[in-house]
Structure formats: structure tokens, C-alpha cells
């Protein structure tokens, strides 16, 4: 038994583990599309749904989704939130974040992104401007890397 003066210790450590993950042909093409300011989806020949990001196969029909479609860069907000707390990897200068899920015109289902283009530090302003059903459009980064963040943010329009 530990003596009274021996308070149980904890060991602090930070683990770093490197990964290299394969995107496969469908997502490779999808990310190349972003570099060219295009949002690419694929269409299921069975159920007819167009999904973004592009998929190699339909999650419901299990059929290959081989027909490529460049979809609209505008859509409506399905839902949104306001991130106002920090955790490891997310520091105070990185918040607030206004994550959203958007239904792009002509696309079946929603897709994630961030709302921006105005002072999002002001929650009341965010709550006034960002509404379920509001229209948004993609604003592209000046420099693109074939990466999801090539869309810098989604801007409220109308």
C-alpha cells in the first residue's frame, strides 16, 4: 500500500503518429476538381441520386457511381452551429467557428462547411444572419491545394 504522502501520479505525454491514407481514384478526382474551383458529385444509375463528395459506390444501392456531375456552388442551409470552446489542437485564436451543413442545388443530401464573410465573433449577428433555409454560396481560397479547405467559407447571399 502506498504511503499517505505518496499521491498517485499521472504521466503526461504527447503521442504523434504519422499516417498516409489512400484516397482512391474517386476522391483523387474530387479533390482535383476543388483545385479547379469545381464541386464534383457522382450519380447513382439505380436510385438517380447525386451525392457530394463524389462516391465510388452508392451507399444505399451498392452500385458503382460512375457518372460525374459538376454541381452548383450555391445551396441552402440545412443546419448550423457555433463552436465557442477550445480543446487540444483548437486554440482560442481558431474560434469561434460556424459549421454548417448545406444542401447544394440539385444535389441529394447535405455537405459540411463553414460560414464566413462577416464578423462571426458576434454571436447575435450570426444568429440573425444564419438561418435554416438561408441561401449560401462557396467562396474559394486564393491559393488552392486540392483540399477541402480550398473552399474558404460559405457566404450568405440574398
Amino acid at each position: 500500500m502506498a504511503e499517505k504522502n505518496e499521491k498517485p501520479r499521472t504521466i503526461h505525454t504527447v503521442l504523434r503518429v504519422p499516417f498516409e491514407m489512400a484516397l482512391g481514384p474517386t476522391w483523387t478526382r474530387f479533390f482535383e476538381g476543388l483545385r479547379e474551383k469545381k464541386i464534383l458529385g457522382t450519380k447513382c444509375k439505380e436510385c438517380g441520386r447525386i451525392l457530394v463528395p463524389a462516391r465510388p459506390f452508392c451507399p444505399r444501392c451498392f452500385e458503382p457511381m460512375e457518372e460525374w456531375v459538376e454541381v452548383a456552388q450555391e445551396g441552402t442551409i440545412i443546419t448550423w452551429s457555433y463552436v465557442n470552446y477550445t480543446y487540444f489542437g483548437v486554440t482560442a485564436d481558431m474560434i469561434p467557428i460556424v459549421p454548417t451543413r448545406i444542401k447544394l442545388d440539385g444535389v441529394d443530401g447535405g455537405w459540411g462547411g463553414r460560414i464566413g464573410g462577416f464578423d462571426i465573433k458576434d454571436f447575435d449577428l450570426v444568429n440573425k444572419k444564419v438561418k435554416v433555409g438561408a441561401r449560401v454560396k462557396a467562396v474559394w481560397s486564393g491559393e488552392r491545394h486540392g483540399h477541402l479547405r480550398d473552399i474558404e467559407y460559405w457566404e450568405i447571399i440574398e
Partner: protein
Amino acid sequence: MVEAVKSPEFPVKEYKTGNKDTVLPYNWALGPTWTKFFNGLKEEKILGTRCKKCNRVLVPARTFCPSCYKDMEDEEWVEVAQEGTVETWCLVNYKYYGQPKEPPYIIAQICLDRADCSVTHFIGGFDLSDPDKVREKMKSVSRIKAVWSKEKHADIYDIAYFEPV
């Protein structure tokens, strides 16, 4: 604070892959028994516990006997010997990410005198650069003893390695 998790980077290839480091912080709780065990190492003592039911002495010390499931209140602390015998060993002569030390090194299962189990640690203190010579040398090694690190942190590396007696 360690660098935060970065956005993935894509090397140029026909089909892309994404490189990403996952970086996460931890605070591992030792609990009272292992706190005492590691504090013992700092004082150059190797501590085990004896189960009063099966009478075995286990190192590192345990809060409960893995066979009898008896609580640590029933156990007694035992300082085991710093010498013991080699049960098995392996020369590590290749590199991988996050390795505990620069190869080559020897990992061994070591049964310390007065303990009823073996512990994992390094064997060292002689030239490990030629695997054939290491094999020849290890044929004659059966008894080893702990070599303590000069600087101690109350962790398993307070024992630098075990050297042949």
C-alpha cells in the same frame, strides 16, 4: 504545447494519398501501487508485491494478483534483487518510427532473483554493432544485473539497462 494537428498534405502521385500526423495528449494515471513502484526505482530499488494466497512475488508491483484476484491490501511489498537470469532475448537491428532508443539494442525477458515472473528490459554495456559477435557473447550470458541511469525520473528508464555479470 506541442504543435497542433495540421491539415492533411497530399504528395503528388497518380492516385493521391494524404499525409497526416495524429497528435494527441495523454495523462496516464499510475494509481497508488505503480506510483510507489516508480518512486522505488528513483531510489534504486526494484519493488514487487507478494500475493498472500498463491505466495508469488510479481514485478512490477501489482494492486491485485492476476491469478487469485486478491486485493493489494492482502499483499506485501518485497524488494527484489537487482540481479537475475535471462529467459530470452532479441537483438533489435532495424529502425521504426517512435522507437524507444537508437538501434542496435537488446530486448530481454529477465527473471530477477526473489521474483516469480520476468520483466522486459534492455541488455547492454558491450558492443552491439556486429550481430554475429553479439550472438557469440550472449551464448555465455546467463546472469545479469541492473545498471542505473545517472539522472532519474521515477520511470522505467531509471534502469538504463542490465549488464552481464
